[in-house]
């Protein structure tokens, strides 16, 4: 068990209002750690701090440290960090260009590929890994905006795989999808776990129990409990956790 990410005493503030309170948690390599909790519990802020997306907002302040492979991420180059810690958003956001260019956009910018044959291979491989290749192989050069919601979300996954990150952050990746697309995305998550470390923020408690190895429960910006998923769902230590997962509040 190697720790991929260590978070030490992380607190986050928006306009001086504390949204995440002295959080200390670790993420093990090649696991799926899911984060559950009601709205306003700081889940998304937590995720967005890990690849420093929240640093883009002016009113955001933070204290504490986050280590990725024992390197402090707050001293890293932001673009480089985001290549290593990639993020999938709640709504699928295809960039306004063709399917092919959506995938090749970031690797090109980062200088991972520059020859056309290499690009073709990369596009095909990423789409296959996101189990999208068969759906779109005949229309790689049509607009990505014309795909269905589930396809768009898988395209976004393919786009992330193309830059070969170390950690993938899923921010409620299925909130806008139908059950079948959700199943497909979950399936690919289990597949991806072999190569990547995954953090999953979800409002769907069942989803957390289905896919994750460990689950963390957040409430009002505080980490209440983190444990092996089966353990947390069957015999939670805290009363609040039990209330939440059995649907008594939240």
């Amino acid at each position: 068990m190697v720790d991929k990410i260590q978070i030490k005493n992380l607190s986050c503030y928006y306009n001086k209002k504390c949204v995440l309170d002295s959080l200390t948690i670790n993420v093990v390599k090649n696991e799926i750690l899911s984060v559950i909790g009601p709205a306003n519990s700081g889940k998304t802020t937590f995720l967005r701090t890990l690849n420093r997306m929240s640093d883009l907002e002016v009113s955001f302040k933070r204290t504490g440290d986050v280590f990725l492979n024992e390197e402090n991420i707050f001293y890293m180059n932001m673009e480089f960090l985001r290549k290593r810690v990639s993020m999938l958003f709640a709504m699928p956001i295809p960039l306004p260009m063709s399917i092919y260019n959506n995938i090749i956009y970031a690797p090109k910018r980062l200088g991972l590929v520059n020859k056309k044959p290499d690009m073709d291979i990369l596009v095909e491989q990423s789409l296959k890994d996101a189990s999208l290749w068969n759906d779109v192989k005949d229309r790689l050069h049509t607009s990505a905006m014309k795909m269905s919601g589930g396809q768009q979300q898988r395209l976004c996954i393919a786009r992330i795989l193309a830059i070969n990150p170390e950690v993938i952050l899923f921010d409620e990746p299925c909130s806008g999808l139908d059950p079948i697309s959700t199943a497909k995305v979950e399936e690919s998550m289990l597949e991806l776990k072999r190569k990547y470390t995954i953090l999953l923020v979800t409002n769907n408690v069942k989803q957390a129990s289905r896919v994750s190895d460990r689950t963390a429960f957040f409430l009002m910006g505080k980490l209440i409990e983190v444990d092996k998923t089966e353990k947390l769902f069957i015999s939670p230590k805290e009363k609040q956790t039990e209330d939440y997962i059995t649907g008594r509040f939240g």
């Binding site: 690849n51 997306m53 883009l56 673009e79 480089f80 985001r82 290549k83 990639s86 993020m87 958003f89 709504m91 956001i93 960039l95 306004p96 260009m97 063709s98 956009y105 970031a106 910018r109 980062l110 607009s143 976004c156 786009r159 992330i160 830059i163």
Partner: protein, 289 residues
């Protein structure tokens, strides 16, 4: 009773909508009637290729090639100045400037759009014209170049305000998506934001060009008003618009000269139509992506 009120309001809106169409059609047909009757006596090819514009000499010659050249030269020059400045300032205002600066800049730019063209022409005449004359050591500063600069200034506010709206309306998620993939801020701006805002930016540029082509007063004051084919951008030129404006007062209604001015209007209309058409083609292409 409420139905009746509904009916009245609908009718009023319908009439207003129809009126604007009718005005356009009326103006166009009047232009067409006066302009086309000119071509009965003078061939169209000769009209646009002849190099000499002597409408009042004993053997009048109606060649608007110098006027077309003047208009095109001044417009091109103005675009070269206004498009980069306009688009860049729009980017700066909407994406880079801190909020306080943005509000001030935006209202200043909008204020700039409200300056009447006579004032711009006048200011240009006493500042830019002597400056150009001294810097480039020309016999006169009243040239296409000075005109381009002033018209560029006039087009900038149009381009800035409209492209700024277009850039601002690019969904924040696009930017976030690109940034989350490790693109730098500038890469995101260039490849994602500019690209997504492109239809709006092109529309802005076209409106800017429209303002430049149609501008009369400022060009008349600054470009020197010499109807000959220019050899360089530092030559004095005369545009189609200023020709119509200066000569309309001296013509005899219904005469050859009078009709030729309408014919110029027709050509001007044709040019703007082509510009709009090309812009539409561009926009259509962008939508299909």
């Amino acid at each position: 009773m409420r139905k009746f009120l509904d009916y009245i309001i609908e009718t009023v809106i319908f009439i207003c909508g129809m009126l604007s169409i009718i005005f356009v059609v009326l103006i166009f047909s009047f232009l067409l009637k006066e302009g086309l009757s000119f071509f009965k006596d003078f061939s169209f090819i000769k009209f646009i290729t002849n190099q000499f514009w002597y409408p009042n000499s004993k053997v009048p010659s109606f060649g608007i090639l110098p006027l077309i050249c003047g208009s095109v030269l001044v417009t091109l020059g103005a675009c070269l100045i206004a498009v980069p400045i306009g688009v860049m300032s729009a980017l700066f205002i909407s994406e880079i400037a801190p909020k306080g600066v943005r509000d001030i800049l935006k209202s200043l730019v909008e204020l700039m759009a409200a300056i009447p063209s006579v004032v711009i022409g006048f200011v240009g005449m006493v500042t830019i014209v002597p400056l150009v004359k001294n810097i480039f050591n020309l016999p006169t500063g009243l040239s296409a170049f000075s005109g381009s600069i002033m018209l560029g200034f006039m087009a900038v506010p149009t381009i800035v305000t409209i492209s700024e709206d277009a850039i601002r309306s690019v969904p924040w998620q696009y930017k976030e998506g690109a940034l989350a993939l490790g693109a730098t801020n500038w890469q995101t701006l260039r490849r994602i934001v500019l690209k997504a805002a492109m239809p709006g930016i092109i529309a802005a540029i076209m409106l800017g060009i429209g303002r430049v082509i149609g501008e009369t007063m400022a060009v008349m004051m600054i470009t020197g008003n010499a109807a000959h084919v220019p050899h360089s951008i530092f030559d004095p030129v005369r545009t189609m618009t200023s020709t119509i404006a200066t000569e309309m007062g001296e013509t005899v209604r219904g005469g050859m000269h009078y009709k030729s001015l309408f014919a110029i209007g027709l050509v001007l209309f044709l040019i703007t139509f082509i510009v709009n058409f090309i812009a539409d083609l561009f926009l259509g292409k962008n939508k299909n992506l």
